[in-house]
């Protein structure tokens, strides 16, 4: 099995505050890899390090067996695409124009797209099922539709790895499943490694090949979903009472929150 991302002893701090502490993990290629953890555990910082936005202060980070700082900017952009948490559509680009921007790391010195680039953008739009929205303005779309546009843009970048920072955070239930299905198809049909930060442990349990649970900037647990999502690890990470059993849908864990009023008194 090949390694898409290899992280060893990664540490980073903002001022006095140590956000990532000695983090190590590996993501195999063509894997659906989900990072979970409570707020402020360092998930977003980790994503920024993986995408090259942030240069970690210590540790080693290899993308496709090559240290990240050995990549040229554009070469890195052709290898890793990033879908950030929140995006604002300040200026009214159309969906097609926006997706086409994913071709930027491939363009020549004048920055003009060729017919081939347009075709790749069309395919990315078709893959995400947005053909009939292609000429709509971005600011006229709903949150879920915008999220799909940003994913299509990342696909158009033709990367080996796609990083997503909580892509389902503000979406309704139907859209959450749609986005997750889309990412699974991306992995299966295009062979892209998907690395995602998620808040939703149940979605993570259903879709992830491997999970990484981080807490307070450290790796608490990593492995298959049923290894990571146990009562013990989750309670330690999130500090609340949870019920973990097997999902009625299949052989993966289901996590249920247990509010105080339902707890059994001893």
């Amino acid at each position: 099995m090949n390694t898409a991302i290899d992280v060893k002893n990664l540490s980073h701090s903002f001022g006095e505050h140590l956000v990532l502490k000695n983090i190590s993990f590996q993501v195999p290629t063509k894997d659906f890899f989900i990072v979970i953890g409570p707020n402020g555990s360092g998930k977003t910082t980790l994503m920024k390090a993986l995408s090259g936005i942030l240069k970690p202060q210590a540790g080693r980070l290899e993308i496709l067996n090559r240290p990240i700082d050995r990549y040229q900017r554009k070469a890195l952009a052709r290898t890793i695409a990033f879908v950030p948490q929140m995006l604002s559509a300040d200026f009214p680009f159309t969906v097609f124009e926006m997706v086409l921007m994913g071709r930027s790391p491939y363009l020549g010195i004048l920055g003009l797209e060729e017919e081939e680039d347009m075709e790749i953008a069309r395919q990315a739009i078709a893959f995400t099922g947005m053909e009939n929205l292609a000429h709509r303005k971005l600011d006229q779309l709903s949150g879920g539709e915008q999220q799909r546009v940003f994913i299509a843009r990342a696909i158009c970048q033709e990367p080996d790895v796609i990083l997503l920072d909580e892509p389902t955070a503000s979406l309704d239930l139907a859209y959450q499943v749609r986005i997750m299905d889309l990412m699974e198809r991306l992995k299966n049909e295009k062979g892209i490694t998907v690395v995602m930060v998620s808040h939703d442990v149940n979605l993570a349990a259903m879709y992830a090949d491997h999970l990484l649970l981080i807490h307070d900037g450290q790796v608490l647990c990593q492995g298959l979903p049923d290894e990571v999502l146990t009562y013990k690890t989750l309670e330690e990470a999130y500090g609340c009472t949870l019920l973990v059993d097997e999902s009625p849908l299949g052989k993966f864990p289901r996590v249920t929150l247990v509010p105080k009023k339902y707890m059994i008194k001893e």
Partner: protein, 336 residues
């Protein structure tokens, strides 16, 4: 089904050609308007060398009107482009060199240069450039902290820097006993009449490479609209691009200020109008702003020359009268 849109290059050529035609037409109009009566036909014949007999008209056209129209076009182009760049880099639709106080800063520099008796180029241009860079750094520092891009902080800093610059300018003017006082005041309000062909030529040599540079960086400017971090993951060298664009823009603005003073709000009107018509792609907008901005200031200058019965008003007065209400309109619209 997704229609195959015309490839960008074709679109770019068509739009540039059309806007160039408009600019040429407006420039011809600008050349034929003036206190010395002349018909459009006479003017055209003189320009194309078929009517060489009228020596006075010949002199008026080539020595006075043509440099002036060309100067207006260059200054309008540079200021529009300046507005476009600031709006993209600061992600603020209201950013503009004049509103942010960059023009005011270069005016201080320019006045100091003039009072010290420097020649317009390179002396005054360099002191103006120093002034513009100083105000730029000041504004960015004032509105920074975590978010350079905060809309209100940036605009308020700009307004205050502008007010401060105005005070310093008034101070400098009231301290001097110089006989050129009237000249300075007229120049301050945006005076396009000073150019002779040689000076306009120098300005063109300064500005044209800047136009090319900004066009070259127009695709990264598109990506910057999506935020610095995302642009970075798409292969953009954020620091290099931002610094290059800011310096190039300040350079263009200070060059225009040292030649014709404060012509405000040009960088607000044209970028917005053109964005409305052609969409937000900077690879189209950069050439469109150069040509359209030139057209706009030539038109404003024609108005400045023809509206009063006698003499003329500074072009900066016209641009402010059009631009300031538009600014308020845009402010209301973005605040909703």
């Amino acid at each position: 089904m997704i229609n195959a849109k015309p490839i960008l290059l074709t679109r770019l050529m068509i739009i540039s050609f059309l806007l160039l035609m408009v600019l040429v037409a407006v420039m011809l109009l600008g050349i034929s308007v003036g206190p010395t009566q002349s018909t459009m036909r006479n003017v055209l014949q003189t320009i194309f060398g078929m009517h060489a007999s009228d020596a006075m008209l010949n002199t008026i056209i080539w020595k006075i009107r043509f440099p002036r129209v060309l100067l207006s076009a260059l200054v309008g182009a540079a200021l529009s482009l300046g507005g476009l760049v600031f709006q993209a880099l600061l992600r603020n639709p209201l950013a503009e060199p004049y509103i942010l106080g960059i023009s005011g800063g270069s005016a201080i520099g320019a006045i100091i240069g003039i009072l010290m008796g420097f020649s317009r180029f390179p002396g005054v241009s360099l002191t103006a450039f120093t002034g513009s860079i100083a105000t730029l750094v000041l504004i960015l520092a004032m509105s920074s902290g975590q978010t350079i891009l905060k809309k209100d902080a940036l605009l308020l800093s700009g307004v205050m820097v502008n007010a401060f610059c105005a005070a310093v300018i008034m101070f400098l003017i009231s301290m001097t006993q110089d006989t050129r006082l009237h000249n300075i005041i007229f120049w301050l309000m945006g005076d396009l009449s000073l150019g002779d062909m040689r000076q306009v030529g120098i300005l063109a040599v300064i500005l044209l490479p800047c136009f090319v540079l900004v066009f070259w960086l127009s695709n990264p400017m598109n990506l910057l609209l999506m935020g610095k971090e995302l642009a970075q993951t798409m292969g953009v060298n954020i620091k290099l691009i931002t610094v290059t664009l800011l310096v190039a823009t300040s350079f263009m603005v200070s060059a225009t200020v040292s030649y014709c003073g404060l012509v405000g709000f040009v960088g607000l009107v044209m970028p917005h109008l053109l964005r409305l018509v052609f969409g937000p792609d900077h690879r189209i907008l950069v050439p469109a702003c150069v040509l359209g901005g030139g057209t706009y200031l030539v038109v404003c200058d024609i108005l400045a020359r023809t509206l009063p019965k006698q003499g003329e008003i500074p072009a900066g007065v016209i641009t402010a009268m059009i631009g300031a209400p538009l600014f308020i309109y845009l402010l209301k619209r973005t605040a909703k």
